[in-house]
Amino acid sequence: MFKQSTFKNVLIALTLFLGTYFTLPTLLGQEAMKRMATFLPAFLVPQNAVKLGLDLQGGVHVMVEADRAGLARDLVKQLQEDVRRVLRTERVAPTGGIVAQTRGVSLRIPDAAQRAKVLPKLRELATPVTSAILGNTGQLSLEIVDLGDGLIQLALTDAELNERIKRAVEQSSDIFRKRIDPTGNKEPSIQRQGLDRIVIQVPGAKSSKEILEVLKPGKLEFRMVAEPGAPASEIEVMEATDGQRSYTVERRVMVHGEDLVSADPGFSQQGGEPVVNFRFNVKGSQAFAKATTENVGKLFAIILDHKVISAPVINTPITQGQGYISGRFTVEGANQLAVLLRSGALPASFSLVEERTVGPGLGNDSIAAASLASAVSAVAIVIFTLATYGLLGLIAIVALVANLLLIFASMSLLGSTLTLPGIAGIVLTMAMAVDSNVLIYERIREEQHAGRSAISALDSGFTRALATILDANITTFLAGAILFLVGTGAVKGFAVTLCIGIVTTIFTAFTLTRVIVAAWYRWFKPKVVPL
């Protein structure tokens, strides 16, 4: 039974060929692939090399989380406005006003007739929650309860809040991308994780400083600096961005950042100082023109995220809807602000919950260390295997090399990332892959000692060992698969290589080793297997 069909052999050869083929970009580098593309049609050149994890190539990994409570507060504020509008059109005044709570608002309308008039209108505020994936969820955005005693409560539903968070996180991901990579050549990876988190990975970035910069809300406002004697309820004190001064500004916003249509870094005409030039849309232009016309000679404040960038004097009315922001910027600073303003304000605020930054120096050192360690381990395994099994050891090593090629090819195709623990996983796999050959060879030896002929020992050796190999590897595979599910980052990289390694190990043990040993037997017809 020590025979294999030609069809099977062709399949094995094809697998190995593809394994080698898809490993080429990793082995030879992208440069060689470009050279290959000069004499081969593009579709024949393999594209993807194994991606290196940030721990090997250096870069920044941060996980940020949307401020759920803050978003809920914003929604409640909006709801408060909506309710106020309804009451105004219905000419109903609640006793005690509209009270904001953490998840909604409540109001008291003691008069039953008025309540009956208002309630249906309030119910109209509740809209069906639609999600991008599920479409209409069948749930309403608001739960409106008549608590009796004239008390009405409007509460945001979980469905609405989750949907809003999801949308805010999605929008923010796009905004982050624009802010981090305005020119589109840094290849950052920005992925949503769970409901309210975003993982941002920027290969090659040196510190998280620049990435933390993009977490700023980016909310731009133009307001008037308050005149002395303005009512206290209409003004507030704000710090300047330099942290040295503070301004008293009006609460009323003249123009919002949403009305910006462009923001570009430039230099001021007077001093050549770096500034950010901006232009408003029609609505913004009109509002700005009106405000500046009415307030010539007074100060207005340009406010970013509740900090005053600058507070220039209005010399002449600005009616063209454009201007510039100056604030003792560096060229880099002006650039960053322009990107920030262009990308728009974040719909939610974010805070950093995890950071892992690896400098390029450490990354290179790790690659060097891991390569050396892998090479030394490989040599040790090769010498030991050859010393133990001789010629058959050589076959084991051929299987091992094929195994490595298949691991790298699978990783390239799956787009999985090679991390430092991942390399440890591969080395461990090499050691365990030898195990499958050991199991086979020892079994053959035993069968031969029991008095079987070479061919019979080979045949039953393979058959019996394979059952054990499969059994033994399934347990490790289960452990690896679960590690993949619960692990993050570099540890996930370990799980990936471990699992892929087990699959390729089983494959080579079942096919390649068997085919080579069979070929060797047919060629030499040995009376005794040299073990």
């Binding site: 690896v358 260390a369 360690a373 090499m430 035993e446 619960v486 540890v491």
Partner: protein
Amino acid sequence: MKLLRIVPDNTRFGFMRFRRVSFPFSAIGSIVAVVAFLWIGMNVGIDFKGGTVAELQAKSETADLGAIREAAGKLNLGDVEVQEYGTKRDVLLRVGLQPGGDKVQADVVVKLRATFEDKYDFRRVEVVGPRVSQELVQNGTIGVLLALLAILIYLWLRYEWQFAVGATIATMHDLVLTIGFYSVTQLQFDQTSIAAILTIIGYSLNDTVVVYDRVRELLRKYKKIQLHDLLDLAMNSTLTRTVITSVTTILALIFLGIFGGDAIRGFCLAMLFGVVIGTYSSIFIAAPILIYLGVRVGEGAASGAPKSNGTEA
């Protein structure tokens, strides 16, 4: 060519006799591990307790640890641990979790950078917030338990119950001792350690399964033999494989540990311990325990027999 034989042919080592030594030895080891875990506890890394780690490299020849300590002390960050890391130029700073939730943790790095950036390169920075660290603990625990469960279910389906119980006890033994190892050595316990533990479980079971497969096969083959002798025979016939595989794995781990850099040294150490313990437990715990679990010679195990094409002795 003369081939290397690590285990001489026809070795007849009385493994089962050793259970009188190995069982008490393992029992004491497990108790020590549990006591160490409860008494000393683990050197838990920032993955699981939150905080900040920064690896700095001096731009000059040597790092001035005293100056770093002093400067770090002034930053009002609580206890800052400063230690040499590998070479004289490299320093590792550990800062505990700051009071005030997720938002304030990122400020630690900003402060550290502002203080040390002109004299030191920041080779690596890791910040783990309080909630993420809690989740990582949760995921790690769930992972280990889930892996155990999945493996048990697999063993239950594949073997008779005695074997499943035996493998479970051996695996628990390895798990407890490995955790004890982390506690006694004060090796840092982080996400990589979860990877190490799961791999050790996988490896140890791998070994146990190989041994059990042989025991089961022999149970089908021989009907008139003492279980004690049958187990010894099974151990001896798989001994070469056990040794060779352990040696290749240990060789690989030793070289990884020596040359692979600080980041994976801890992982390699734990794995080395685990491979040794896993191999030991397969032979000296998993196998002899079958004697006590009521495995009988001659009853024959019918299920899942590999297709035998005639080795009837």
